[in-house]
Amino acid sequence: MKLTSVPITLTQCAKTFRGTRVLEPLNLAIGAGETLVLLGPSGCGKTTTLRLIAGLETPDAGGRIAFGDDDVTALPIEKRAVGMVFQSYALFPNLTVRGNIGYGLKIRRTPAALARQRVDELLGMMRLSAHADKPIDQLSGGQRQRVALARALAVQPRVLLLDEPLTALDARLRDTLRGEMNALLRELGITTVYVTHDQAEAMELGDRIVVMSAGRIEQIGSPRDIYYRPVNRTVAQFVGTINRLAGERRDGMLTTIGGAVPLPAPAATHGSVNTAASTAPANGPHEIFFRPEDARLADPASAQLRGHIDSTAFLGERTRLTIGGAAPEPLVVDVAGRIELARGTPVGISIEQDALIALS
């Protein structure tokens, strides 16, 4: 199954509910066939953005939404030819699985034979053939999720919109379905907007991720951009875990409690918005960030930073160490799972220079 896809353009779309701005004016261009993930904590405006694209909300005056060359701002959802999967799935309890998947085809008065064929095809694709005539309340969570997806795809939408489609499932099932969903979206090649607050979902599924917070877009970029080159603290702290080294900047070094770290040259910071780093005086208070997996244990004698183990957490494939005494705040460092260290053990850590992240 291959679907035609259109690009989506949002121009100056804001949304105000009862005098409260929940979405600041926003510009967003989504390429044809691209999977764009809207990521952010609850209340950040990601669902509102999705509902604007769906046509379930209309943007404040001045906002414009286009599918390709087609201005859809004034069109209600039923005329936009979108496929939508809701967080609660919104499956119709009064219809069977087949009835749910075929609902949109029936509305469009698709000839019965053709509709049946399409529904059968989707049932097969979603491994639901055995459940075709069951009512919805007899399905498991994962099955419901697949019915919801099949129902949205049955009408061959121009755009697929997914509102936290995996949130209602338990963790293991979520992991499995995430992989399946990824394969499916690649195969369909449909323009997809996916809303989630789960960074693992965002990383795996997104061609690009839009990190949102408080009604604003914080950063748009590939998963790697977002993770390794966050533009500000909000993004860095929301995606993954990050350590902060605060100290004194002197002669290209950052000196803190447990030692000193050579600072990257301003040019080497990958073009991220590091105005604070570049405009800061050569000497003075300074701070720099790094990810837990980018530090490695080193001989305390030759390590950049020295501290001691505050606590360890064995997570299976890795051990997460919390190291005190190296910086004003405890540092979190991930090492191989087999490494066992007692509390209080003095350790040294070194960080690759290009893994250091400067943030404004």
Binding site: A90, F92, P93, I107, V155
Partner: protein, 329 residues
């Protein structure tokens, strides 16, 4: 806990004998008349427990049965009165169906009229109440809340007041005044709130709104959504409302008493007539007739209601499929 700590025992004695036991409280180890009796009280109380509970249970049963009897005996007496030859001589005078037959020959028109009025009332409340309930549940405006309040007024006001209002305004339209439609109008005024409230409750609670959004995303227009998604999923509320409307309409007396004409006597009005102007046996037989007529209706509606929500069938199915829910496929 009895006598577990000497300190607490001393405090207790101090409380009960505040005046003359100061020395006793200063030396808690000294034997006092109350301390040996305390350990003994424990086992005795434990042995007494089952019987206390049995007494309590017996008392509860007694109260429950007495209350039931208090409510049921008059009903039974009334039914018996309608079946005995002479109520004042009691059951010994013999049982008969004579009164029932007499009531049927005289009042069977009321039975049909009541049913017709109830059916018409139900039809009108369905047509107006269901959309109204849906809209009220959806609307968040102050106006909707005001309308909701006003809808309840006919329940809060005595039926007499509503009837008088109707008579004052429409009493002059003789043809209307003389027709059963006049009573239907009264019943609609009285029963509409029950339908609207039941439907509004279902529409406001469930995730009907999301279901509708789902249908809309698949291309369904408002009318299609309403017919294929809203109505089927609001069915529990609609059935509950319909049940309320039918039973209220059939049993309504206050308002109907004011509105009726000799040609438009409903069942309750006829009942009042018989008790007021005929032998007590006939009035009681009328009660039996009423009972016979409304019970099947109530049972049918109840059965239909349970089935319509799918709750009865769903609970059965859930038991069957609960094992499958663990299976991720």
């Amino acid at each position: 806990m009895s006598g577990a700590s000497p300190g607490s025992g001393a405090d207790k004695r101090n409380d009960t004998l505040p005046m003359n036991s100061i020395t006793a409280s200063e030396s808690p180890s000294s034997p006092s008349p109350s301390s040996p009796s305390q350990p003994a009280a424990g086992p005795r109380a434990r042995r007494a427990w089952p019987s206390t509970r049995a007494w309590l249970a017996a008392g509860q049963w007694l109260v429950t049965l007495l209350l039931c009897a208090f409510l049921i005996v008059p009903v039974v007496m009334s039914i018996m009165a309608g079946l005995t030859v002479n109520y004042f001589r009691g059951v010994s005078s013999g049982l008969t169906l004579r009164w029932l037959i007499e009531v049927w020959t005289q009042y069977h028109d009321s039975v049909w009229l009541s049913l017709e009025v109830a059916a018409a009332t139900l039809a009108i409340t369905l047509l107006t109440g269901v959309p109204a309930g849906y809209v009220l549940a959806r609307s968040k405006t102050r106006f909707a809340r005001i309308v909701e309040e006003f809808l309840v007024l006919p329940i809060a006001l005595p039926g007499l007041a509503s009837a008088l209002a109707l008579l004052v305004i429409y009493g002059g339209f003789t043809a209307f005044r003389m027709s059963p439609m006049f009573i239907v109008v009264g019943h609609v005024v009285f029963t509409l709130p029950f339908m609207v409230r039941a439907v509004a409750a279902v529409c406001a609670s469930s995730d009907l709104r999301t279901l509708e959004e789902g249908a809309a995303s698949l291309g369904a227009s408002f009318f299609t959504r309403f017919m294929t998604i809203v109505l089927p999923n609001a069915r529990p509320g609609i059935v509950a409302g319909a049940l309320a409307v039918l039973t209220l309409s059939i049993g309504e007396f206050n308002l109907t008493w004011m509105l009726h004409t000799p040609d438009t006597k409903t069942l309750p009005v006829g009942l009042a007539d018989t008790y007021a102007s005929m032998r007590i046996e006939i009035g009681s037989a009328y009660t039996i007739l009423f009972f016979i007529m409304t019970m099947p209706l109530l049972v049918a509606m109840q059965w239909l209601g349970v089935d319509a929500t799918g709750q009865r069938s769903a609970s059965k199915k859930r038991a069957v499929s609960s094992a499958k829910l663990d299976d991720p496929q």
